[in-house]
């Protein structure tokens, strides 16, 4: 049997296994060890699965994973973001669609305090969504706002996806994180522009907040702005020592987790229940990630052992004889396609190692590609049928939001994100300017 055939068989049987609904790590791990046993025979084949565990142990940036997850849960469970929402509510409510715009602002600030999209989703759907619905906002638009906004969590630093990408592409996390800042803000700006335009055309979608709700003394209004200090402090406590090289990546993540914890305690929000939920869910989500990565690493090693990586390179560059840009675009498209039926974490750990070396070999900047990659991942997170954000939304949204609403809500935002993707592709400086500026200062 040729290696290409084995590789194809491995990939397709993994898909099939995934379709059965078994836990993702089990499906991938099973295919990995069976392929290893078939290829290596009884002797070496037994060890490939476990040696992935030893490899995973040495992937030190993954130590940030539980830290960022814990941060996210502390922020969302303790509801210390309530004040933030109130700030936007009062300050932005006077505009058409203002609450939706404020929600995007809220999402940007939450993104700066955690590394995944989960926290943004939880805060958005528990705090913002009910308020928006109560005020007569269009349910499809606001559902989309929250999903799109929370996806900024992995583009604005800190970002777990960029940590994983950094490990796979062997690029510095600091530069990748900084590269995500401008595109993240740009995308937030584009979401806002979309909301403004839609609400101008059709004011029913986002009615102006009743003056009685936002009439308050100026001093009171200014006081609300103080809520914005918290995210800035948490972000700074984590990022400043890191970017200056005083603390390492993993140390900074622990400082961030501690900062979020202390903030919740100081605000009197760290109840027994919040504590319990944060600690327990951190274990659950960390385990989910780690077991998938563990299985995917074994899968990747077998795939590599087959020479599948070289085969894919050969396919794109020699057999199809495409230009580098064509290959890049095809890869992005295939990502979105695969994202429709493949688990996101698995996609990251299995597919990225196939593509990233090729991108490097084609002469593209891997920091820039990391941002393209992350935006593409975000799109995949949001597109049905398989999307992490879709699942979360379904789990967290109030009952009047149907699955159909959720699916319908994301379409315009996905188009905005595709536009952002194209912009970053055409103008790489959007991503590379900030890291170049900070790290190459004279």
């Amino acid at each position: 049997m040729s290696y290409e055939l084995i590789a194809t068989l491995m990939f397709s049987s993994m898909m099939l296994m995934l379709l059965t609904g078994q836990r993702v790590f089990g499906a991938i791990g099973f295919i990995a060890v069976v392929a290893a046993l078939l290829l290596w025979g009884d002797k070496g084949g037994f060890d490939i699965g476990f040696s992935a565990a030893m490899k995973l142990m040495k992937w030190y940036p993954l130590l940030t994973l539980p830290m960022f997850i814990f941060m996210g849960y502390v922020l969302s469970e303790s509801k210390i973001a309530d004040d933030l929402y109130k700030m936007f509510h009062v300050w932005m409510g006077g505009l058409r669609g203002g609450l939706a715009i404020g929600t995007i602002g809220l999402m940007v600030l939450i993104s700066a305090m955690n590394g995944l999209s989960v926290a943004g989703m939880a805060i958005g759907s528990t705090i913002a969504l009910p308020e928006l619905l109560k005020r007569g906002y269009d349910k499809r638009m606001v559902t989309g706002v929250i999903q799109a906004g929370s996806s900024l969590g992995i583009l604005v630093p800190p970002s777990v996806v960029l940590v994983l990408y950094a490990m796979i592409a062997r690029q510095p996390v600091g530069q990748l994180w900084l590269a995500g800042v401008v595109p993240g803000l740009m995308m937030a700006g584009m979401f806002i522009a979309y909301i403004v335009i839609r609400c101008r055309m059709n004011p029913v979608l986002g009615p102006v907040l009743d003056p009685s709700e936002r009439d308050m003394p100026r001093a009171e209004k200014m006081r609300l702005l103080r809520a914005g200090i918290l995210p800035i402090v948490i972000f700074a406590v984590m990022m400043v020592p890191f970017v200056n090289g005083w603390t390492s990546l993993v140390e900074s993540s622990a400082i961030g987790a501690l900062a979020a914890f202390v903030a919740a305690v100081l605000k009197g929000r760290m109840t027994r229940e919040v504590f319990e939920n944060s600690v327990r869910n951190t274990l659950g989500i960390t385990c989910m990630f780690m077991w998938i990565i563990l299985a995917a690493l074994a899968f990747g090693a077998v795939f590599d052992g087959l020479g599948a990586v070289k085969a894919i390179e050969g396919l794109f560059t020699e057999r199809l004889n495409l230009s580098p840009w064509m290959i890049l675009i095809l890869m992005q498209l295939s990502f979105i396609l695969m994202g429709t039926f493949l688990d996101d974490t698995a996609m990251l750990v299995i597919v990225a190692p196939l593509y990233v070396p090729l991108v490097g070999a084609l002469g593209f900047d891997l920091i820039w590609y990391g941002i393209l990659y992350t935006i593409t991942t975000q799109i995949a997170y949001m597109t049905p049928p398989f999307g992490y954000n879709l699942f979360l939304m379904r789990a967290m949204a109030p009952p009047e939001i149907s699955l159909r609403d959720i699916y319908a809500s994301i379409t315009p935002f996905v188009l905005v994100m595709v536009l952002a993707l194209v912009l970053v592709m055409v103008f790489p400086g959007i991503a590379t300017w900030l890291p170049d500026y900070i790290y190459n200062k004279p």
Partner: protein, 318 residues
């Protein structure tokens, strides 16, 4: 008759492997043709470097290029692989020690005991510090988190160096993310080749060993299954790899010190550095006391260095 396929993993990453192993493997494949093909994998690609030895012993991997120290071979000679402090001054010292002073025989004995074929040893580059901040005295070494070889790290920790062990491919990023302050793993040629010169600023001209010692190994059964002529071809290609490194590093070290634009050279004064050399003598004794085999190797290294001193110029100038 079907083609024999071997999987070989090197401890070098892709950029470095381009020089130190890829040409030899390509040569082997070209000559062996349909009879045998070697598939080469880079650092951590199939198995993590720490698991290399076990993977080779079990046949997950058929052959390995590594120093004994990095892959933590379970033998008594492991500490002498990689950089055994001040054991050699020039890269030619290593093949002489193995071929003329009897190290080959000891290595063969030790590896046969654990079911692995030791094929041949060769030299790489000297071991220098590449750091973000300048090192001009021993004091400057204190508290620096340095990626280095296990034994070299053990030795240098008495001068306040904090050795850190990470996967080879993660080093460049680890310097940037602040996990590391520098690297004591290679000479300046590798610093430039693998990208470390881009993330560090200073190169210390004093070295703690003049040449790395590392080897080619194979799973014993796989090796014995090979017909004699393919074994001979394999050895010839290993020697070709050793030879390539001899001139590539020797020329590269001088050229980049003189013409390299990315790193500033610094030195620790000779009399201060002499304390490190003296400490190495104690370290040798400490190691020799651990076992009979280690005593034999240390004695050979001592004898060799004494001979070189007596031989005078050009073998030794000081």
């Amino acid at each position: 008759q079907s083609t024999i396929k071997w999987r070989m993993q090197t401890y070098a990453g892709a950029a470095l492997a381009e020089h130190v192993i890829v040409p030899a493997v390509e040569m082997f494949n070209k000559i062996a043709g349909d009879r045998m093909q070697i598939e080469l994998f880079f650092a951590d690609q199939l198995v993590p470097t720490g698991e290399l030895f076990q993977a080779m012993q079990r046949g997950t991997i058929d052959a390995v290029q590594s120093d004994d120290d990095s892959m933590a071979s379970p033998t008594d000679v492991t500490v002498f692989g990689g950089y055994f402090p001040f054991a050699s001054r020039y890269s030619l010292d290593v093949p002489v020690l193995f071929n003329q002073y009897g190290l080959n025989e000891i290595w063969d004995e030790e590896y046969s005991k654990v079911g692995v074929k030791h094929i041949s040893a060769g030299a790489w580059d000297p071991c220098h510090f590449a750091t973000k901040d300048p090192i001009r005295s021993l004091e400057d070494l204190k508290g620096k988190r340095i990626f280095t070889f296990p034994t070299a790290g053990r030795f240098m920790s008495q001068f306040g160096v904090v050795p850190v062990n990470l996967p080879w491919e993660d080093i460049e990023v680890a310097v940037q993310t602040g996990e590391l302050d520098g690297i004591a793993w290679s000479g300046i040629t590798e610093d430039y080749t693998v990208g470390w010169a881009d993330v560090t600023n200073y190169f210390l001209t004093n070295n703690i060993s003049g040449a790395w010692a590392g080897s080619f190994f194979a799973n014993m059964e796989r090796w014995n299954e090979l017909p004699e002529d393919l074994q001979a071809l394999f050895r010839v290609c290993c020697d070709q790899s050793h030879y390539y490194r001899q001139w590539w590093y020797w020329g590269g070290e001088a050229d980049l010190r003189v013409n390299g634009p990315k790193m500033e050279l610094t030195s620790i004064p000779d009399d201060e550095w002499a304390t490190v050399e003296a400490a190495a003598q104690d370290f040798w004794e400490e190691i020799a006391a651990e076992s009979e085999t280690k005593r034999r190797v240390v004695d050979i290294i001592k004898k060799y260095n004494a001979d070189m001193v007596k031989a005078g110029r050009p073998y030794r100038y000081t």
